[in-house]
Subunit: 332 residues, 2 copies
Amino acid sequence: MAKKTRIVQMGLGPIGNKVTQFLAEKAGIEIVGAIDADPAKAGQDIGVLAGLPALGVKVTADMKAVLGGKDVDVVILTTTSSLVKTADQLAELLPYGVNVISSCEELSYPWLTNPGLAGKIDKLARENNVAVLATGVNPGFLMDYLPVVMTGVCRNVRKVTVERIQDATFRRIPFQKKIGAGLTVAQFHEKVKEGTLRHVGLTESMHMIASCLGWKLDKTEDIISPIVAEYEVKTEGLSVKAGDVLGVQQIGRGIVAGEELVTMIFRAAIGQPDVRDRIVIDGTPSLDSSFKGGVNGDVATCAILINAIPSVVSARPGLRTMVDIQAPHCFK
Amino acid sequence: MAKKTRIVQMGLGPIGNKVTQFLAEKAGIEIVGAIDADPAKAGQDIGVLAGLPALGVKVTADMKAVLGGKDVDVVILTTTSSLVKTADQLAELLPYGVNVISSCEELSYPWLTNPGLAGKIDKLARENNVAVLATGVNPGFLMDYLPVVMTGVCRNVRKVTVERIQDATFRRIPFQKKIGAGLTVAQFHEKVKEGTLRHVGLTESMHMIASCLGWKLDKTEDIISPIVAEYEVKTEGLSVKAGDVLGVQQIGRGIVAGEELVTMIFRAAIGQPDVRDRIVIDGTPSLDSSFKGGVNGDVATCAILINAIPSVVSARPGLRTMVDIQAPHCFK
């Protein structure tokens, strides 16, 4: 029998707990440790935290106890969207000689948004002979990697447009809050100013696409605005008055020599019509691809974190991105 | 300035000539040689053969003169659909220490259809420290690689169905003939028996998908049938009487423990309605993705052969498939 791949989870919030559920189904995977700084989680079984029977793996804040001298293949890091914070955590993790798969949006393609930190992480990973990858449904798949993959059959590409239009009506309440649903327009703008209401990753996605196609973006924009209710809208857990916020729209624009060559349209709101994930490539040939009904983001993010495990284990050492590893795919 | 990637083309039929056109547009590519056994092509300039101005590269049958002691990165091999014939050509090519990208359909995923030859090619490639890849639009992309990539966001997959439905009305006459358009039904079946009328690759595509998902196919079927004209149909170059053949349908079925887990529906005919390239994944989440208007196969096959160059140059030595290299994408 082939040796199981030995996984440690770090960060046991909602995404981490769902990752536990998915990992527990994989025959070739063994979860061998769990790290979280939250004292309230210390000593708890990760199976129980995930709503499963106990898995015999207890959470601890003590990284050294979990990784020191142990045989661990990959750490799944689901702690933060911040590249700066993730870099600190990687500085602690990588010297243990573990590969890392992170959900950090800003780490998905940091080569142009923060080349200094990207280079540091790359160097540290290579010194420790391990690979680091950040992925997720978006950034990491729908709005960057998949459009790049589709250009594989193109003789040339003139422009790429990606639309991710989601109806948040039946998503969990934390997601509805995250997109600003139920806020007044003033509160929405306040939260944008604070930096707490924003889909992180459009700029990274645009840079990934542009770099692959050989375009140097002179300028990127990521413009956020509220989607406002024209009349009162009620969901199971939330009621939004006319004039208040149903959700968020973000438009990303990547400009080369005054021309907009990459466009990202991200919209997530309660009652949003015309749900779709659409990739339009203006090129030879032109391509217009859509997912009917879109792609469920909660499931997809956790799935791709796990499906990337074999690709990361076999990757060249260093900071990798989705476009320089072998294709992650579902496995047993 | 970065060193250009040095390419030799082998096989200068219609696909090879189109590859020349596309290669000539790439700033980072230099065509340094051309090999074809056809005496009628000997001494001809590959640019002229491709309908371009002369490129200063003459065709020769003398492989040693082109590759011996020369600095060549990749040979683009567009000679045959036959794995057996391709294996013979690779046995000559690989000892020159060149990577090879081939359009041979049967080489796209030969690990289960012909494990003996696949193993031999893999060994020879590793001995010569080079990588070999076969790709194309289909097999190689639409009906295998892209469905596999899409499962990357799936927690689990129960079944995969791929449809490639093409209208041949405006395709070149050789393509129309290749799919049997204009034949009587009896002639169609005769050609099928001879093995000269068949889309090659459905079985390879099914094995690629199944292997990635951890399924072992107990049985595969690839059933070919004519699409028959109900009334007379005329195109620019062809007239098909009622009762004669408009094109071909092939249905691939991959069976695991009595259940059909992979289904391929390939149809190419004159006047074919509902043109589409569609990938349906029954899983968590289920995905239903379509290309509006389908994907032009002539352009796409040549594009992916070229777009795979950087992925093959950086690949691990051995016989590679699309699912174990980094994503090919359009480049400048």
